[in-house]
């Protein structure tokens, strides 16, 4: 029983973080049909912002908000720097510019800050634990679950109830048609990048909170997780991204609990084997989503 509760808390907190990461990647992919490879760096940007404002002594929550805003800003910047100038050209061009922007940001951090890990300020609550029904668990995990629930509800509300959300869902399937109804292309794309940055910023608080430090290469793992989650869930579907995130977390947590100690270091190999099996069974991902139009 205790083990089960422990497992559920671990699974939900990891799943919530994975789902938010995946959602941030798929919202841009859905509209542009292009993977933003500089996505992971948004988490790095949030981390370094937290590190840089760490000395100011202001309350942590303000630092967190500044860090998240920086992530949003850099999300929008990704659009202006890497996507917009070459959007109309070829897929390859955008692929390369988004990799280039990612490398640029990483090298910026290497050059101007340090290749070594930098500690980030964290609130005390992140390191405290709490006992629920005999299970001792970090409060951070419960905060992650709560934040994921709130963020996902807000996101759903935004996409279902607001004009911009409906327009974004429309643009994800027939971009040119949406423009022919007067929906401004640039507004939709920039909004997608801003939301992507917001989700990355929010998730980075908990992702970095686990590690306690930020390095220039910190974005790679979240990018990989988000990418795999969206591939399993179905690249065209927002629900698919969330489902994929939770499924990936379920596999990871499940393996953590079941693998014998000496096999645990090969956990990723087991995870990827399962991902391959899922893709053999459902090559398009679990949720197909609506048939989408051509790349724009």
């Amino acid at each position: 029983m205790v083990g089960l509760i422990q497992f559920i808390i671990d699974f939900l907190s990891l799943g919530g973080a994975y789902a938010l990461m995946a959602l941030g990647l798929v919202i841009v992919y859905g509209i542009l049909k292009l993977v933003n490879f500089a996505y992971g760096e948004l988490i790095m940007v949030a981390g370094y912002t937290l590190y840089l404002v760490g000395g100011t002594g202001m309350p942590w929550i303000f630092m967190a908000i500044i860090a998240i805003l920086m992530s949003v800003l850099f999300g929008i910047l990704t659009d202006y720097v890497a996507f917009r100038p070459v959007r109309a050209k070829s897929v390859t061009a955008v692929l390369i510019t988004s990799f280039a922007f990612s490398t640029l940001l990483q090298n910026g951090a290497l050059l101007f800050i340090s290749p070594r890990p930098r500690n980030i300020p964290l609130p005390d609550i992140f390191t405290e634990t709490i006992e629920i029904a005999g299970v001792i668990t970090p409060i951070r995990n419960l905060l992650t679950i709560a934040t994921a629930v709130i963020s996902l509800s807000l996101f759903t509300w935004l996409m279902r109830r607001t004009v911009i959300g409906i327009a974004m869902r429309a643009a994800a399937t027939h971009f040119t048609m949406a423009r022919m109804l007067g929906v401004p292309a640039n507004l939709i794309i920039t909004s997608a990048f801003a939301i992507s940055g917001l989700l990355a910023g929010i998730v980075s608080m908990f992702w970095l909170g686990r590690i306690g430090a930020v390095t220039p290469g910190i974005g790679l793992e979240p990018l990989l997780i988000a990418f795999i989650a969206t591939v399993i869930g179905g690249m065209r579907s927002l629900q698919g991204a969330v489902l994929g995130g939770f499924l990936l977390a379920f596999i990871d947590t499940g393996l953590n609990y079941t693998l014998p100690q000496d096999l645990l270091k090969f956990r990723d190999a087991f995870t990827f084997s399962l991902v391959i099996l899922i893709l053999l069974w459902r090559p398009e991902g679990l949720l197909k989503g609506p048939a989408s139009g051509q790349r724009t």
């Binding site: 409906i166 423009r179 007067g182 292309a185």
Partner: protein, 235 residues
Amino acid sequence: MIKVSNLQAGYGAVRAVRGVSLTLGKGELVTVLGANGAGKSSLMLTIAGALKPTGGQVFFDGKDVTGATPERMVRLGLAMVPETRDVFPDLTVAENLRLGAYIRRKQVDAVQADLEKMYEIFPRLKEREHQAGGTLSGGEQQMLVIARAMMSDPKVLLLDEPSLGLAPNLVDQIFEMILELKATGLSILLVEQNASKALQIADRAYVLRLGEIAAEGTAAEISEASDLHAMYLGG
């Protein structure tokens, strides 16, 4: 309302529209006929701003709008129903229609009134109000895209193959509706494969062939032209 002069457009090396000139007067219903690949849809997309012209000019209400974005064309008062229909499949019927009124989303009451009006004209859409657009039948989707285009309260409507793939009784219904829309003073540019039906309701007609105007005149003149079939079938 619309004047196109010597318009050229294409896809890469393929020149789909090769120097087309046409006019569409206020309240007029003009049809553009032609075989598959004659450049009809490309012409429509170019006027709507979805395809960039490589030459020539487009005027809307006397203003030069050559190369304008699709967003700008809608705001000027042009609505487009593309051949591909492009219902937003995961949006509900109501959401599809509301998005049609995107450019006047601030006029809440007027939009709501228009929405009710559309449901009155198309009771089928009212029945399926909360259903996803992708689950509708072909005929219902066609009604939806026409209603959606009308939600922007346009002055000019571009209709690309509204009868494509529909059952005969539905085709009649769509054509009746086009006449009703014309009666409200709307200017309509209609592309049709069903030439005889289109000529019955149109004021004037153009025949496109290989991206060029092969014939033009009143609907009656074009109907009577003995070589219509030859031009139409590309013979």
